[in-house]
Symmetry: C2
Subunit: 260 residues, 2 copies
């Protein structure tokens, strides 16, 4: 058997998330269907993480085993022609034997996009959370720095999804307002060694409380220390969230050294 | 009767164009339905121009007469809440008596967006023409300058749509490649005193032939001079086209003086 690594983007709007589910249109489902067309094999693929319904990906990575002997670039072109137009195949390449898209990931980066313009943006409505109050992006950035480093992120984990442990390391966390034509958009970028269920969306839902002035700058640090989900803000809606990339090779960003 | 002027944006993807048609979802139709909800009147609105199916607007302008006495800003908020989420109301304001959205327009500006990246862009697929060959944007810009000024644009008018005359004045015509994350996008911006049917899309379909190197830089000028639609390139698809604004007040761009 040969192990292949596939990198892909998708618009999550019309998908019930990544993972195959009966009678639902899922990203995994349409990619596996395309692989069946291209290789003739029923192939199960494993993603670096299962994005939820409505969540987008710029650089999702998945791996699968196949007996197909076509060159990887040929498979990539054939898959690109086979997938629906809300999925795009960036690359297919041979991976080292035993490569596993989840286990081997060193870090992952997500982006969350907020739109705080007073008029709705019809072209970004699927790709940004339209927030009805003006946000102070610099204030959000400052208070977010308390979440960098290695912490127990239980306060930012949706209940009912227990894991062995809820300690993760956030290497980078930046909030900034767009420039020029993007000035009504606020971007959050976060890179970590892993994420708890709904962690980015709970962090966003917490930071906006500071951004709109309802909570003090010290609040996110207090929420983190409480290790209790009920202390944090709401879970931000999925359609503002993008999986930007999964990093298998590089060292995580240097600010990792900043620690807890 | 009172005359109101409304400015709105829309994502043209799921509309059969601006104009009301039986059994079709149109922008005019959903805005008139919203006006009925807000004012209780069956109101007919007139747009600055009827955009085709799939064509978008950042700043379409329409006018209508009403007996409604609510303040314009109140009507704007009520309409914004009433229209579907692929339409956004920018403003509603009282217009001078007799204001007419078509007749009083001094110039209109359109943008056409091309994507020439090798990988499909799932987030822009509704808003850009994915062109499969690399385009030389500077070359397109240079040859496009021959279309500036006052000319008979018959070569760029879809047949079956006769007008009294096909002379229009193009005040500005620019082609440029995006910067940074936009580097796989080529933008055409055109402002004119009016446009023939499918004129922007026929100009784009012609300029790409020069951009990909299939025709010499002198070609668009020769096509223009021929006054024959069959000499020009294809009609570019609608989903890359945006009505940017309609200008009622300002003098058109200074380069109008450049003439023919």
């Amino acid at each position: 058997m040969r192990t292949l690594k596939i990198c892909l983007a998708y618009d999550g709007t019309d998908f019930a998330g990544w993972q195959v589910q009966p009678h639902q249109r899922t990203v995994q489902g349409v990619v596996e269907e395309a692989l069946l067309q291209v290789t003739g094999e029923s192939i199960r693929i494993v993603a670096s993480g299962r994005t939820d319904a409505g969540v987008h990906a710029l650089g999702q990575v998945a791996s699968f085993a196949t007996q197909c002997t076509l060159p990887a670039a040929t498979i990539a072109r054939a898959l690109a022609a086979e997938v629906p137009d809300d999925v795009a195949i960036a690359s297919v390449e041979d991976a080292a034997e035993g490569f596993h898209a989840i286990r081997d990931a060193r870090s992952k980066r997500y982006r969350y996009v907020l739109h705080d313009g007073s008029m709705a943006d019809v072209f970004r409505r699927r790709y940004a959370w339209h927030y009805r109050q003006k946000l102070d992006a610099q204030r959000m950035h400052r208070c977010a720095q308390a979440l960098r480093g290695t912490h127990d992120f239980s306060s930012f984990e949706t209940q009912g999804a227990p894991r062995e442990d809820s300690v993760r390391t956030v290497y980078e966390l930046k909030v900034h307002r767009g420039a020029a034509e993007e000035q009504d958009f606020v971007y959050l970028e976060i890179e970590a060694d892993g994420f708890l269920y709904n962690m980015v969306r709970a962090i966003v839902g917490t930071l906006v409380e500071v951004g709109r002035g309802a909570e003090p700058e010290a609040w996110p640090a207090a929420v983190l220390a409480a290790r209790e989900r009920s202390r944090a803000g709401v879970t931000a809606p999925p359609h503002g969230l993008f999986l930007v990339y999964v990093n298998y090779d590089r060292a995580p960003p240097a600010c990792a050294a900043a620690g807890g």
